[in-house]
């Protein structure tokens, strides 16, 4: 890998509508490329490789056992960002997989089928390709059917690769049941299922889990998350020192590198950079006119340039909900004491996902997602809400309209915009139309501001 020389001092001049870029964000591309490159090398060297999904509560386990993760959603996102996903999507379709399914999965399945047919990576695979795994780790959770079914579908062309499907359920928000009353059996279930996962990995990869090392990895991960939380808090400043456009890159260590020193160092550096910028009042744009919250939806990986368009209008995103679902400090979660690292992970998981429940319960008509948005609006001084509806993802993109309706009902009318496209499938995207919608939204924000 080439030697990268990072600017020793910030700020760094921004490009295309931005006043100041985020130095830390610039590191992400090379980091991901390096990770993918080393996973391809790992395959050639016959190392232990697993297909993994993000936010499944097994990151520390993988790292503590030196298993190389191949993040299949991430790889599909890269194909999307490089605008080279179509040929994999088409391949998946030819297998009779419906186009309305998760396009991450279609991309991944198309890629895998091709790789298996050729016996080697498809020609010109982005960044070297997706390495063949020894195991695949699914997770049904509470949402995301693809994460329950995708790898099972992949077994059709790689039947020698076994799957472990680990639970990740947490109590649903109910009016008549307090989640605290039932968390116990949820935690027990997750703890035991994680134990099963460790056993599965031990058996398949012929190695034993070092439990002390697991505890250390967990502590490192927690410390990393704390740094990430600090970064998010720093973005409350006016003008905001970093916005969602960069956060979509800066989430990478949280999502894909949890438990590594690299992730820790990354957020430490990012935190230092943001502190500097806040101190010197260095914002993302020349003149920050509108502060927006990205309140739902994964971004269009091939259209991150839409953020540049927002910046050119003086709009920034100090905060987002996407990829922040796990970013809560363990100290805030009131976790029970335990010697069992898996039990710790289980409780941490449940408490993170139910973080907003208690607050929501206090406000009539509120729900956790709505409550979070209200809190962000107030803490980050927000003028408007933007959401993105990706057609192939029911998991994260259903309930957006309702959230806005509910927000209006129980809080107030905040200008909002829902963009429509997809995460990976570029044929759904119409740049002219998207820009027009953004323009109209900016006009609304301006009108509200000048009242």
């Amino acid at each position: 890998m080439e030697e990268q020389k990072w600017p020793e001092k910030y700020p760094v001049e921004g490009k295309r509508g931005r006043k100041y870029g985020t130095v830390a964000a610039m590191k992400v591309g090379p980091m991901v490329k390096a990770a993918i490159g080393s996973s391809v090398e790992a395959q050639q060297e016959d190392k232990d490789i697993a297909y993994t999904f993000i936010e499944c509560n097994y990151d520390e386990i993988i790292r503590a056992m030196d298993i190389v993760p191949v993040w299949t959603e991430n790889y599909a996102g890269i194909c999307g960002a490089k605008r080279d996903a179509q040929r994999f999507l088409e391949r998946a379709e030819s297998l009779n997989l419906s186009r309305s399914l998760c396009t991450y999965a279609l991309c991944g399945l198309g890629f895998d089928e091709w790789r298996e047919e050729l016996g080697e990576m498809p020609p010109d695979s982005p960044w070297g390709g997706q390495a063949r795994p020894g195991v695949m780790l699914s997770s049904g959770q509470i949402l995301c059917d693809p994460r329950n079914k995708w790898y099972q579908a992949a077994q059709q062309f790689q039947p020698d690769v076994p799957i472990y499907n680990v639970a990740g359920l947490f109590p649903m928000y109910e009016r008549d049941v307090d989640s605290h009353e039932i968390e116990g059996y949820y935690a027990k279930y997750i703890t035991e299922d994680l134990r099963g996962l460790v056993k599965f990995l031990e058996e398949h990869f012929h190695k034993k889990m070092d439990w002390d090392r697991l505890w250390e990895t967990i502590k490192l991960a927690d410390a990393t998350t704390d740094l990430h939380v600090e970064c998010r808090e720093l973005r409350k400043a006016v003008p905001t020192p970093m916005d969602t456009g960069d956060a979509m890159n800066c989430m990478v260590p949280q999502a894909f590198m949890m438990g590594t020193q690299e992730a820790y160092d990354f957020y430490r550096d990012l935190r230092d950079e943001l502190r500097y910028k806040v101190e010197h009042k260095l914002g993302v744009v020349e003149e920050e006119k509108y502060r927006l919250v990205w309140a739902g939806g994964l971004p269009s990986w091939f259209a991150l340039s839409d953020f540049n368009y927002f910046w050119s209008k003086g709009a920034t995103f100090p905060v987002e909900s996407t990829y922040n679902e796990q970013v809560y400090s363990a100290n805030e979660l009131d976790l029970p004491k335990t010697d069992d690292p898996l039990e710790y992970m289980a409780w941490r998981w449940i408490r993170r996902w139910t973080y907003w429940y208690d607050l929501a319960r206090k406000r009539p008509g509120s729900e956790p997602d709505v409550e979070r948005t209200i809190n962000y609006i107030e803490q980050y001084d927000i003028d408007g809400i933007v959401m993105h509806e990706a057609f192939s993802c029911r998991t994260w993109h259903v309930g957006l309209i309702w959230q806005l309706n509910q927000l209006r009902k129980i809080y107030r009318d905040v200008p909002s915009l829902i963009l429509e496209s997809d995460i990976v499938d570029i044929s759904s995207y119409n740049e002219a139309d998207t820009r027009a919608r953004i323009d109209a939204f900016i006009d609304t924000l301006e009108a509200v501001k000048s009242r």
Binding site: L95, N96, L97, S98, S100, L101, C102, A105, S138, G140, Q141, I142, L143, C144, D145, P146, N148, K149, W150, Q152, A153, Q155, Q156, P159, P162, I163, N165, A167, L169, P171, M172, Y173, E174, R175, D176, V177, I182, Y185, Y186, K188, Y189, E192, D193, G196, G365, E367, E389, F391, S392, C393, R394, T395, H397, V398, G399, L400, I401, W402, N405, Q406
Partner: protein, 354 residues
């Protein structure tokens, strides 16, 4: 008590003294009101059902129970329970895997539901009432199986269209009445004289919820007999009993997690080869195809259905391994597609003609 999906533990609802009422959509009614509250990328059947509730069709419901079936249903829970302002709503988590620890979790979760529903009913749901409810629902299942036996003959004594009509009716009435209705239907069918063999193609329909007669009728109007299925409301709901050997809640957990065969539940790989895995997951289809002498299979799915959508290649591989022709259709929940459906179904039947 309204509910969606075969995975809802109706025995608990019946035991609490409520009538389980499975809400459905309407293929003839364009979806209008739902769009202002629910995204269009949701399963069209769920959207239609939601649209119906918004239009007041289900105002008589006391509450709604929603199981963790799929993303469309789970994600719509907040929207549905909030917008309808029903006095009661509850979400029942169902684990995705069938491991023992999953079953243990599920038992605890069902107990939470039992307490919640009992609280709303004003009376605890006792084990005895659960046992009674299980027996009642098992009796219905047995009667449906009996009705299906009349479809084995050539030509079948009861048509697919008639069976779907009956099963849809059963979806929305109290268990005791459902039992009576089935008795009456069976009595009538028994009296029918058998006709000479017609040699129309015998079709099996596989799908998720096919709760409208229209599709089955289209197949039969095109000159075939729909003799068996693997769909809701069909064999998926009725071909296994809740056993009475364990404690009632444990039996119920066992039934909905392990016996009920739905793609949303991930079945662990137990065999050695991929073909064995397919057999474990889909063997019931092969069983039906054989018992009912099936000539062709139509795999009928709705757009935006993830659990089934991911399984299509595997299912087709399995069905083809039985040397049975299969047609795969992806449709929307609406009558506007009827002409397109007719062409495909007819073309498929033409390929089956001997």
């Amino acid at each position: 008590m309204g509910y969606m999906c075969a995975l809802t533990p109706v025995e608990i609802i019946t035991a609490a003294g409520f009538v389980p009422f499975r809400i459905k959509g309407d293929v003839n009614e364009p979806i209008t009101k739902a769009d202002s509250q629910l995204e269009t990328i949701v399963c069209p059947l769920v959207r239609s059902a939601f649209d119906m509730t918004l239009k007041g069709n289900y105002d008589f419901l006391d509450g709604m129970v929603i199981p963790h079936a799929c993303d469309s249903i789970a994600r719509s829970y907040s929207t549905i329970s909030c917008s309808l302002e029903l006095p009661y709503s509850h979400f029942v988590h169902i684990p995705h895997t069938t491991k023992d620890l999953s079953k243990e979790f599920f038992e605890a979760e069902l107990d939470t539901f039992r307490k919640s529903l009992g609280g709303f009913a004003g009376e605890e749901i006792s084990d005895e009432s659960l046992v009674r409810a299980i027996d009642l629902h098992n009796a219905i299942k047995a009667k449906v199986r009996e009705l299906y036996q009349f479809r084995k003959s050539d030509p079948p004594l009861v048509s697919g269209t008639e069976v779907v009509k009956v099963l849809v009716a059963v979806m929305g009435i109290p268990a005791v009445e459902a039992s009576q209705l089935l008795d009456d239907v069976i009595d009538e069918v028994k009296k029918r004289a058998s006709a000479p063999a017609r040699k129309s193609p015998r079709i099996m329909v596989i799908g998720a919820e096919v709760d409208d007669v229209a599709f089955v009728k289209l197949i039969e109007d095109s000159g075939a007999d729909v003799v068996v299925d693997s769909m809701c409301v069909g064999t998926r709901d009725y071909f296994f009993d809740v056993d009475t050997a364990q404690k009632p809640l444990d039996s119920i957990a066992d039934y909905y997690l392990r016996k009920l065969n739905c793609p949303r539940t991930y079945r662990e790989w137990t065999g050695k080869t991929y073909e064995e895995d397919l057999e474990a997951r889909f063997g019931h289809i092969g069983g039906f195809a054989k018992d009912f002498n099936v000539d062709g299979v139509i795999l009928y799915l709705l757009k935006y259905c993830d659990p089934f959508g991911f399984e299509v290649p595997a299912r087709m591989q399995y069905i083809q391994s039985l040397d049975t022709p299969v047609l795969y259709i992806e449709d929307e929940y609406s009558m506007s597609t009827i002409a397109r459906l007719r062409t495909r179904v007819q073309a498929f039947l033409e390929t089956l003609a001997k």
